[in-house]
Structure formats: C-alpha cells, structure tokens
Amino acid sequence: MLQVKNLSTTFALENETVCAVDKLSFDLPQGKTLGIVGESGSGKSVSALSILRLLPRPMGQSTGEVLVDGKNILDMNPEEMLKIRGNKISMIFQEPMTALNPVHSVGKQLMETFFLHFPEITKADAWNRSLEMLTKVGIPAPDKRMHEYPHQLSGGMRQRVMIAIALSCEPDILIADEPTTALDVTVQAQIIQLMKDLQKKNNMSIIFITHDLGVVAESCDEVLVMYAGRMVEQAPVIELFEKPSHPYTKALMASLPQLSQQRKTQLQTISGLVPSLKELKDGCRFGPRSGFPHDEESLTKRPEIQQITESHRIEWCPICQKALQETSLC
C-alpha cells in the first residue's frame, strides 16, 4: 500500500541544519491503522508532512522514498502530486480552527475537493455528495451546515468537517496528525470512534499520529514509536503494550500514571531531558537517558534495526540490549 523507505527530513534553521526525521522506514498495510507515537520534537508530524510533501518551504527538505503503488511521491512532478493529494492520500490536522479556511463556507471547502478530483462533476452533484459526506461524519442538519463558516462550528464539528473533506474522495490512505489533541476527552472519544467506523466502511489505511499512548491503544493496529527523529520500535499494538522491548518504550509506558497503580506512589521516570534536535549525535540517542553507561562508540555509531518477530522491529544499540537482558526489566 504505502511504503516509506529511509525517509529523512532536514530543516534549515537560522544558523544550522537539523535532521528532524532520520531514515525512517515503515510499511502501511491496507485497511490497517498505524499509530506513530512520540514526544514533542520526535519527528512524528514532520514525517507525516514529508509523506505528502507539505513541509514548509524553503526550510524543509526530504530525501528517501515514499512509495505509493510503487511510485515515489518525492520524485513526482507537481501535476502528479495533485492527483495523489486528496485523492489517494488525505490528511487531517491537529487544530481544526486554523486548518479550515476561515473565509470560505463549509460547503465551498467541501465541494472544492470534488471539483478538483472530478472535473466533470456538476455543481448540484458536488453539493449532494458534500451533503452526503457531512451526513456520513455524523453532522446533524448538514444542509444548514453547508452554508456555515468554520467559526460558527464547535471544535468537534470542525474536526468532523475536516474528516469529511479528507474522506470525500475516498482516499486509500488517511494521515491524521494529532486529530484529537485539541479536543476534550469526550469529543475525542467520538472522533476516534468515527474514524474507526469510516475506516471499516472504506477499507482505508490510516496513519494516526499522536503523543497520547492511551489514544494509540484505543485506535491503532500497529504502533511505531519515535524518539529524536528515529523509529525506536514498531510492533502490533497489543504486543507493544504488553511486551515493550526498547528501553525508551518501556520507560515511557512506566512513567505514565496507571489506573492500576497505587496512588501517590513514586512514578517511574526517565532521567534527563528530551534531546534538542540541534545536539543530536548519530549513535544511540536514548543512551544518555537510559540509565546504562554508554561508551563512545555506541553514541556515535548508528544502531541497527532488528526484527524481533515478524511484525516487531526495534532499533537498539548493543549496550541497551545487553543491559536490558541483564537487568531483565521486562
């Protein structure tokens, strides 16, 4: 379906160039949801934007391959890109207020997609199909909503409209970049449910980007954990949560307050700070925070990706691996 191979994205800042995504590779199977989790600055959103080539210019640059039906998106000319975007791959964004054009009506923004990808469509048709989409995403009184502007809708409604726009051309892949972060928990639950339902109906694949492990657990089939621009672990969701292998994944899980945990007890912590993109080295990036002494070599030499099981990949350096096995924390 979608194959990402060695995707790297760099940003040119004022004085230096930083690598926000470092040789990311993954496959997205049909009809499945891939969750990408990570803390802020881990490169999850950037990688999503890189796939659709929506990085801000002139700073962002991507290399590597993003294959859709065997074709590399990164090599496509603008005309070909137009056919991919919206049609093949759609995207929804974190903040539905700013992601919708404030001066165009909901209907206009919805219909625009139809006009773009079905040039022969009549206005009435586009209207009807837009209405249909709004109904599909569960918006009450859709024909009224068509005339309304984004600022007249609530946050949840806006995100539904975003989803309706994204799904209007029945894309094969939907990239959802933190779609629920700005929403309240109750609304978040509805949106997640909605996405799940629509996925089932259309049999599409979803890349679900979030920092919330709880959301991942609820909505994804596969999870890819990112840290400092790199994938550290990828596994099916249950496997990951039950048997996290990478020290970072492990520590992350442990540092969350659990319902099962005794209240007011000390939480597991990860020492140190999230490394800034500017001071990254090539070697094991979690090393300095892992609590295990790392030698110079492991900090400068990039660790290899190991395939633990068929569906479980992990990038770990020998030292972390050894230390983990020795302390047998798992």
Binding site: V185, T186, A217, I238, E242, L252, P257, L259, K264, T269
Partner: protein, 270 residues
C-alpha cells in the same frame, strides 16, 4: 484549612452600540469546597468549565463576584491589599506554561528571590541568594542556574523554577493550575514526583487542576469534577473511579483513553 463557600465568579459580556452589559458568563457558579492541610484536591473538567477561574478566584487574582474564601481562618475576600499580601505567603500557585509565567527579562535567581524580597524574608541580598540556591537544589537544578535566564532551560526545568518560586515562602497550599499538562510524558512524571516529594516533606496541600484524569487520579486524595462552572461531584479518588454517581462524571470516565489495548478492544467488541 481552606474553606470555599458558594464562590461565584461572573464575567460581564459587553455588546451593542453603547457597550452595555448584555449578559453574564457564569465562569464559577456557586462552588463550595474544602482542603485540609497536606491533602491534594484534584479538580477536573473539560476546557472552559471554569476550573482555572476557580483557582484564580481562590487566589484572589480575580475578585470573586460572591461567596467566601476562608483560608487559615481568614476571610480572603475581605482582606485589604496589604493584608492580602501577607496571606499570599501561605498560598501559592504554579501555572501551566512555565515559559510564560517566568519573566523572561529576569534571571532565575531574581525570579526566585522576588517573593522573598516582597515579603522581607532574608535580611541581606546574600541571605536571599543562599536561600535561592538552596531552593534550586531542592527542585533538582544546578547551582549555576542562578545567573541564567529562563529561556536557556527546557520546559521541565522551567517548571522546576516555577516550583522553586512557589515553595520559596514555604506556603501551606499550592494551586497547581495545569502544572504538568504542557510537558512531555517523560518529563511529566519527573515533575509529578517532585511535587509529591515536596508535599511529603513540607506537608503541603495542593489543589491540582488538570484535564488529564489519570494524572489527577494519581496525585489526588479527593477529586472535584467541574462542569459548566459548577462542581457536579466531589468525592475521594477511589470512589470516583470505581463508582461515579453523576452522569457527567460517568461519561468523562468512560471517555478516558486507556493505555491498555486489550481492555479497550474487548470493550468495543462487546
């Protein structure tokens, strides 16, 4: 220790040609709660339900429209400005965004020393500096942070500075207004641990305002659930999580995403 009775906080809405008051927003509407020394009261609710406003109204940062706030036997709403200044020694706040809540033009040392200076603690500048460095160490920062500026620190470290400032006066109560919401998961736990350590050490009481229910549950002894300016349910933590009474609380509880794929998957299947 803290006894809030029927606290009301109404904001007027102006509109029309002559900028007349056309409506009121009932940000906090008839709220009563109590906090005992050393206790943590969690305050949860969705955005816009008035939890931050409640916190600030207790702190007298907003003048409440009605009701009373009694703290250590004093009626805060009736205190004069100078009396209030004294009362503030015992009630402090930690705000959500540490980047915003620290004056970017002041050094860390100056930030921490400010409350000391205001309340005349520490006779000389040297005394205050010693105290500030002590506090820095207490919240896990290096001594050399003293002369640095907030923007040189990461989010977690800045929140530590905020905490240092808040505990500088050795208060009895600290209101943590979304104190960890802006932090990454890995940092969040550090701060939570620090807060809990300090509580034990200094017998602090917290009002812990957050929208993250799992965090609130972890740190709180009792939890108040706010909805549209009102407290719909207030009870001890375990009770709330096992059997919530109010339908809103129930809905809220069920919407929390659990980092447990199996449970949720099963749940959705049934």
């Amino acid at each position: 220790m803290l006894n809030v009775q029927n606290l009301k906080m109404h904001f007027p809405v102006f509109g029309g040609l002559l900028r007349r008051q056309v409506a009121k927003v009932f940000a906090v509407d008839d709220v009563s709660l109590k906090v005992e020394p050393g206790e943590t009261l969690g305050l949860v609710g969705e955005s816009g339900c008035g939890k931050s406003t409640l916190g600030r109204a207790i702190l007298q940062l907003y003048k409440p429209t009605g009701g009373s706030v009694q703290f250590l036997g004093k009626e805060l709403t009736e205190l004069s400005k100078s009396q209030m200044r004294d009362a503030r020694k015992d009630i402090q706040v930690i705000l959500q965004d540490p980047g915003e809540s620290l004056n970017s033009r002041h050094t860390v040392g100056r930030i921490i020393e400010e409350p000391l200076e205001i309340h005349g603690i520490g006779k000389t500048a040297k005394d205050r500096k010693e105290r500030a460095i002590e506090l820095l160490k207490k919240v896990g920062l290096q001594e050399d942070s003293y002369n640095r500026y907030p923007h040189e620190f990461s989010g977690g470290q800045r929140q530590r500075i905020s905490i240092a400032r808040a505990i500088a006066l050795e208060p009895k109560l600290i209101i943590c207004d979304e104190a960890v919401s802006a932090l990454d998961v890995s940092i969040q736990s550090q701060i939570l641990n620090l807060l809990m350590d300090l509580q034990k050490e200094m017998n602090l009481a917290y009002i812990f305002i957050s929208h993250d229910l799992s965090v609130v549950r972890h740190v709180s002894d009792r939890i108040a659930v706010m909805y549209l300016g009102k407290i719909v349910e207030i009870t001890d933590t375990d009770t709330l999580y096992s059997d919530a009474l109010h339908p809103y609380t129930q809905a809220l509880m069920s919407a929390i995403p659990m980092p447990d794929p199996r449970r949720k998957k099963d749940g959705s299947n049934t």
